[in-house]
Assembly symmetry: C2
Homo-oligomer: 362 residues x 2
């Protein structure tokens, strides 16, 4: 029989976010007496630690023990069986960005296993998978939370859900959803001063660790498109996929066939003139360019790409690699509800995961 | 035996926020099948509707039926007895700003009655009352939510709680916490142009409905001090009361003895020079003045009053009567987590109440 005095945590993924989450979980488990939080399963794609009797695993050295484990993770069906047969409530925390793990969520949810994740794939993939996930939630009562899938620890998903569920009419959502794009355009087209060459800024962002290992994975706009897909669906639009609406890629056509990120970076300066021209056109109107995503609910329009903003606009005056998300709604009128701050990074992403866990415990 | 399939709602207060909440509750109850939401008690300070058998009251015309009711509300002990003996989970929604109702929360909470309220009084009064409330919560397991007590429907309280409970170190909280003060200073000391005379701006704000009936109730700074008290306590500071730290009043000493708001408004222009001087001093530094509250956690400093900000600062470029709240934390580093938008008004305040109700239902 499931005890309400114990909550069992299973974790998949021990990368940057996963390691930060383990630290936060350890602190949380030490602070809380009821319900007691017990880690009982942890795995990467290759290794796992778990015991047939569901006994708990020490959180503080779980990552090191896992690295030395000779056990491999069970196949999905076996894992579903194992987790759903546990003697208490189970929360599966997916700290990967794996498509395969994402596609297995309905199997877990149908069997009552709660899911928390920063992984965007499940909620921004096919609309069938979305329906499967929330169908499973509706029948089993299991919960799924994914605050960190948009804006990391910023309260973006919870705020949008609150607006919708309390009956406000969300009209438009607009913002800068990528820390990488934020950093690039705040440097390339600052509100004061002139900024550097586009290819230099991209190189600098990569050196400072603000981009993916291959910067094309940021510049193609897909990351932003995935986040927009999630928000649009929560706002009630049946968006088919993150490629079903216009997404502007900042990878020049001629460089799409580059064989490596390095080759791309080496050749990017040949295309600096294009970005410079776009920047100058905006400047001539007293504006700056920013890479934004927007969702217009009445017209069901979702798009991602470069847009011009007045220098005084909150989107223009963003700092560093911050995200900004504006919700225009019936209740909030002309001045949107705005949420702003770091939208990437291990600790703040893990914080979104931990705050979701607090919701399951509440 | 308490049923989990039904949640019983009791409401005190049917003013501006109360009416909006009734509308939102009606829509929510119509949309949700499980748990079923039933209104079974509603009162003002003079009238009440309720039935001994806890049968439900139609939400759509509750306000009108209440206005015609000849029943008076029971004394507090009787109400505690009545609510805590109900055959399902009870949520008491206090939509008043009454000190008396606020002081009775521990009685309800100890008996398992959950409380949701936008009323600041309970959380910004004496520290003994705060301890009583959260002591009752800890022993009975009843919940108390008060999102709308700061920033109305903006997710301010929930975000601060998430930061604290997930283990972030909150260092500083700063912002514009009063819609009235926001409107006054955005007009009086705009970032572009010169703004009007102080007394004219106060008069205009009153005419547009942005102030309390007596504008001194905004200008004394107590409303902001109450909100700061709540946030500081949630961040871990044992603030004794909203008068235990420096609060700058914008009521000139000479006008403190005015017998009415009207007399105050009629005489205020004699003191325009003082405010004009403060504004000009800021302008000479290229800055604007704003009425802000701040909490510095390491030094345990809480204060409320006028401060100067660069024109490009997010606090300076606020619009209309918006609030802005910045959280500086260990995880978020130099760029704070910012929440901005309307922080007053019936619908957005009721939205915070309704979103708290969703948390109780989750």
């Amino acid at each position: 029989m499931a005890s309400t005095q114990r909550v069992l945590i299973a974790i998949i993924g021990v990368g940057g976010v996963g390691k930060c989450f383990l630290g936060q979980l350890q602190a949380l488990a030490a602070r809380r007496s009821a319900p007691q939080l017990d880690l009982f399963y942890i795995s990467t794609s290759k290794k796992a630690i778990y015991n047939d009797d569901y006994s708990s695993i020490k959180i503080e050295d779980a990552a090191e023990v896992l690295a030395k484990s000779s056990k491999t993770p069970p196949p999905t069906e076996k894992l579903v069986e194992y987790l759903s047969s546990a003697p208490a409530r189970v929360v599966l925390v997916d700290n990967t960005s794996s498509q395969d793990v994402a596609e297995s969520y309905p199997l877990f949810l149908r069997r009552g296993v709660n899911i928390i994740t920063p992984n965007k794939k499940a909620f921004s993939g096919s609309y069938d998978l979305w329906r499967d996930i929330f169908g499973a939630v509706a029948t089993s009562g299991a919960k799924v939370f994914h605050e960190s899938s948009v804006g990391a620890g910023l309260p973006v998903i919870s705020t949008l859900k609150d607006l919708v569920e309390t009956g406000d009419q969300v009209k438009r959502i607009e913002g800068v959803f990528s820390g990488t794009m934020s950093f690039l355009f705040n440097s390339f087209a600052p509100t004061e001063g002139s900024g550097g060459k586009w290819s230099d800024e991209v190189r600098k962002a990569k050196e400072l660790g603000y981009t993916e290992p291959d910067p094309r994975d940021d510049l193609n706009g897909l990351d932003v498109a995935r986040k927009l897909t999630i928000l649009a669906r929560l706002a009630g639009l049946e968006v088919a996929s993150p490629t079903s609406f216009p997404v502007q890629s900042l990878i020049p056509k001629e460089l799409e066939s580059c064989e490596s990120g390095q080759e791309f970076l080496d050749k990017l300066h040949h295309f600096d003139d294009q970005m410079e021209k776009t920047k100058k056109e905006a400047e001539a109107e007293g504006k700056v360019i920013r890479f934004v995503g927007s969702i217009d609910i009445p017209t069901k329009t979702v798009k991602v790409g470069l847009e011009k903003f007045d220098r005084g606009h909150p989107i223009s005056s963003l700092k560093g690699s911050d995200n900004i998300i504006s919700f225009y709604t019936e209740r909030y009128g002309n001045n949107p509800l705005i949420i702003q701050g770091a939208g990437a990074g291990g600790e703040v992403t893990a914080m979104g995961v931990t705050s979701d866990l607090l919701k399951v415990l509440a």
